[in-house]
Symmetry: C2
Amino acid sequence: MTKKLLRALAGEAVWPPPVWLMRQAGRYLPEYRALRDRAGDFLSLATTPALAAEVTLQPVRRFAMDGAILFSDILIVPWALGQGLRYAVGEGPVLPPIRDAAGVAALDIGRLDAAVAPIMETVRLVRAELGEAALIGFAGSPFTVACYMVEGGGSREFAEIRGMAHGQPALLERLTDLLVDATVRYLSAQVAAGAEAVMLFDSWSGVLSPRLFRRFVIEPTRIIVARLKALHPDVPVIGFPRLAGVMLGEYAAQTGVQAVAMDTGADPARVAAMVPATMALQGNLDPIALLAGGAAMRAEAESILAAMRGRPFVFNLGHGILPQTPPEHVGALVDHVRSS
Amino acid sequence: MTKKLLRALAGEAVWPPPVWLMRQAGRYLPEYRALRDRAGDFLSLATTPALAAEVTLQPVRRFAMDGAILFSDILIVPWALGQGLRYAVGEGPVLPPIRDAAGVAALDIGRLDAAVAPIMETVRLVRAELGEAALIGFAGSPFTVACYMVEGGGSREFAEIRGMAHGQPALLERLTDLLVDATVRYLSAQVAAGAEAVMLFDSWSGVLSPRLFRRFVIEPTRIIVARLKALHPDVPVIGFPRLAGVMLGEYAAQTGVQAVAMDTGADPARVAAMVPATMALQGNLDPIALLAGGAAMRAEAESILAAMRGRPFVFNLGHGILPQTPPEHVGALVDHVRSS
């Protein structure tokens, strides 16, 4: 029998809906923190198959989630292409910024397969352990990954890459093309190793003007989805164009994704009116409501469930789970969704 | 003859459209930097009528803008209510955070009129100097102002106020009610002193879930607009619900604002389809395109103008002008809009 999450992604109005949470494998879980302390740093944890597989499985065991998302990071691709990457304590990721043609030319897609081999081993280990939960692979979308590559890390405004998009669009296009190739290769390897669905995280697409959104978000996403479909026709792609706002309908219509993940601010009923009735939606409880717990959390969850009843839907958050979230709140949320 | 900007805000499809830019009085202008150095700090500049009026007028003289926006800050209201405010160099605003009922109770609306008296003098001085340009007063919307009051300054995530919205909604409502009263009083005084239109900046409304957006953005804005209308029926209110995304149509329909300002990511054609044909739209050139200048800037401006031709529209940016913007780019942009 097909897994519940995959049925929903295929367009079936499964009810109660399947549930998993972005960053469900993470710091809010004591068993995660214990394992992370053993691994040393984040990159070692993400590239040591036995540990990464264990971390991926922890929330599935604790909460019987319907989805297991590979424990990894969207910056694995630049790292695998040879751009240096380290995680500075309290600062987030740090990379030597790429700002010119030489920087793009120095990236080497020939390194990718060998670099991500341990991650494929993680995928195989997780898949072998999963029962009813479906395994979700993922990558960052080219634009969001390029944000970090060009800025050299996180940023509030991402002024460098936005300047490049306006002033040197051909250069950003060259980087985007390379990231499209690398992303297809990376996601396709995840599917070959056992991923049953994949998700494209586009955390920063909302900083672009509509013209640039079409050029650097919709178009590369469309190519990635088309190439993945050609290789793996039955594997659904979930797109998450965070802060896309009024561009969400166009993204849903033109990229070819099977499902769209909604951010915290998106009204599920309004988004439903912008996409085909058979397209699965995913989301979008405010992670702060999960942190608050209790009646506030139930009221928010209830308004999402009421809007999504009768259509294909996957319950999730609108953004990643916060590290200070009490694990019992997650348990209560999953129970609430399952009793809906 | 009614000023061009006011005709557009009243629903007339004036073409070429009137133009002004958010933060047009600011650090990118050498004449501003010279004056600011004389004033000492930002608060002194904003509360010294002769200097604030001069700063307000600088871009109008240099570029013949159709609108002059009062040189001030959205945090004038908490400052006037007695919450300490200082601008730390390189850090932005710092306030002692308000997190409980005692903090809200300590705010004193009785201080407001006297505290903002110098700002009303600025409004009078500016209005006396303006020719064809219309004078725009402004305030932050209650939610965005409360963001800074509760966090104690800027924030990437605004986790404190979002936690309060979920966990202590009655407390946030008390603060919101006080800010609604203060905002009506403050904007009404600006109109009495000579402001011909007012704008409500809601920079952070996009961080809220739809339920909370309705409660803490749409509802207080609706009350402010209704009370201003009762006092000054002919003064248009421009609402700027930044990052409202798919909630923009509901905001436009339910708050009573005459015009909606669009952020950088909003597609003007899609927004136009979400609001009445007689409602003025304002926006939304990417400030980074203005920084880049040249063909990139013209292409972005052109796509906005093409979408807005034939409807009431005010050309502007999607976010404030960046300090490193060359003033010549602003001149070139204004020329481009005027020749459209």
